[in-house]
């Protein structure tokens, strides 16, 4: 899960030697196991935003207050 709060904890990069400073990583029991693909993350968030907007439009069209 992505966290927006900058944190400094010691983790091992043994499993993600490709990780660079500034990368977001998925952490499991003290190890980074995967480096976040930011482009994919952005696309997923864009999809959710679209869904949210579509849902609100539907509510408005049907006269439901948000």
């Amino acid at each position: 899960m992505c966290l927006a709060v900058p944190m400094r904890i010691e983790i091992s990069l043994i499993l993600t030697p490709e990780a660079r400073e500034g990368d977001y990583v998925l952490i499991h029991t003290g190890f980074a196991i995967s480096v976040l693909d930011e482009q994919e993350a952005r696309e997923t968030l864009a999809l959710f935003a679209e869904l949210e907007e579509a849902s609100r439009e539907l509510d408005r069209a049907e006269g439901r207050e948000p």
């Binding site: 899960m1 966290l3 927006a4 709060v5 900058p6 944190m7 400094r8 904890i9 010691e10």
Partner: protein, 335 residues
């Protein structure tokens, strides 16, 4: 005075007297205390006496936002305030472990003195014992607190009534997570601070506009969930709270996700829950938000006759679930 606490410091002899003069009395400036009698004799009190006792065993002794000394004063003052009492006097009994660095003790006592001044309460009696290495974990503090309840004030966990509104004075979980993140070595760019604070001023401001407040509780061990369950049980009412209305600071939320904790069960040391008649709710909210310790106050839910003894949480998704009493030892040595 030496660098560390020795057994002799607790024995009542010369070293003990030195510790008293050079450390305790240097910071704790009350006249009655300085008289060094066996008991403090105080002016008569005209009104109902409120009396409370607490012990403090928090680990670590020092944490972001406070320390065991500050906690000892705030915790006791807040217990009095939760019955609507104006806090007057505190006692402070110390159990020290042989080998405790004197600098730590000094820091704790200085903090107690400063907090007592801030809370406008007098520390009028004290005691010190020293036990051998290993027989206590560094430093324990026991207090008793005395206050006076003004006439017409009847605040009790048994007073919640269907229709009442439930308010919280601010964000929850800060103290518990401040301690836990320290213990687990999690370091944030701005560390989570304990919310440890004396609430008597806030309570007095609230009672000035609404003396008919039904319930006040500070949400310490077991957090908001524990307090709501206790009130629901003691008043034999049902409670519904809305997840979206409960304020949780972002860093606390993040730390909870990481540590697998729930902020609704995490301890607070500077937050109160108020259960009030419905027509007083919005005025009280305004008054609370105008006070520095109530700036993030919100109305989080209501009391009803249905499902007595149970606390129900409505989630942002519109679903609902039982918010139980916490089970077992979630956060040891939190206060």
């Amino acid at each position: 005075m030496g660098d560390t606490v020795l057994l002799a410091h607790g024995s009542g002899g010369l070293l003990a007297r030195e510790l008293l003069d050079d450390l305790f009395l240097r910071y704790l400036g009350d006249d009655e205390l300085h008289a060094l009698e066996d008991a403090a004799v105080l002016s008569p009190i005209d009104g109902r006496l409120a009396l409370t006792t607490d012990s403090y065993v928090v680990q670590p002794l020092f944490f972001p936002g406070g320390d065991i000394g500050k906690l000892a004063v705030c915790g006791t003052v807040n217990d009095l305030a939760m019955r609507g009492a104006v806090p007057l006097y505190l006692t402070a009994g110390f159990i020290l472990e042989e080998g405790l660095p004197m600098a730590d003790l000094e820091r704790v006592v200085a903090s107690m003195a400063a907090t007592a001044r801030e809370a406008d309460v007098r520390i009028v009696a004290g005691d010190t014992k020293v036990v051998g290495r290993g027989a206590a974990d560094r430093l324990f503090i026991n207090t008793a607190g005395v206050g006076i309840v003004p006439p017409g004030i009847h605040i009790s966990a048994r007073n919640a009534r269907p229709g009442d509104q439930i308010l919280v004075s601010g964000a929850v979980g800060d103290h518990g997570l401040a301690i836990m993140t320290q213990r687990h070595g999690l370091r944030f760019e701005s560390p989570i601070q304990s919310d440890c604070a004396p609430l008597s001023g806030l309570v007095q401001a609230m009672l000035a506009v609404c003396p008919g407040v039904h319930v006040l509780r500070d949400a310490t061990r077991g957090g908001l969930a524990a307090v709501l369950n206790e009130i629901a049980g003691q008043s034999r009412v049902g409670i519904t709270v809305h997840e979206e209305a409960i304020v949780v600071h972002e860093a606390v939320s993040a730390a909870c996700e990481l540590l697998g904790l729930d902020p609704l069960y995490a301890a607070n040391e500077g937050k109160l829950v108020a259960i009030v008649p419905p027509d007083a709710a919005s005025t009280l909210l305004e008054v609370m938000r105008a006070h520095p310790l109530g700036a993030e106050a919100t109305i989080i839910g209501e009391v009803q006759a249905a499902h007595p003894g149970a606390v129900v949480l409505r989630t942002a998704f519109g679903t609902q679930r039982l918010l139980d009493m916490p089970a077992g030892e979630l956060l040891p040595r939190i206060c």
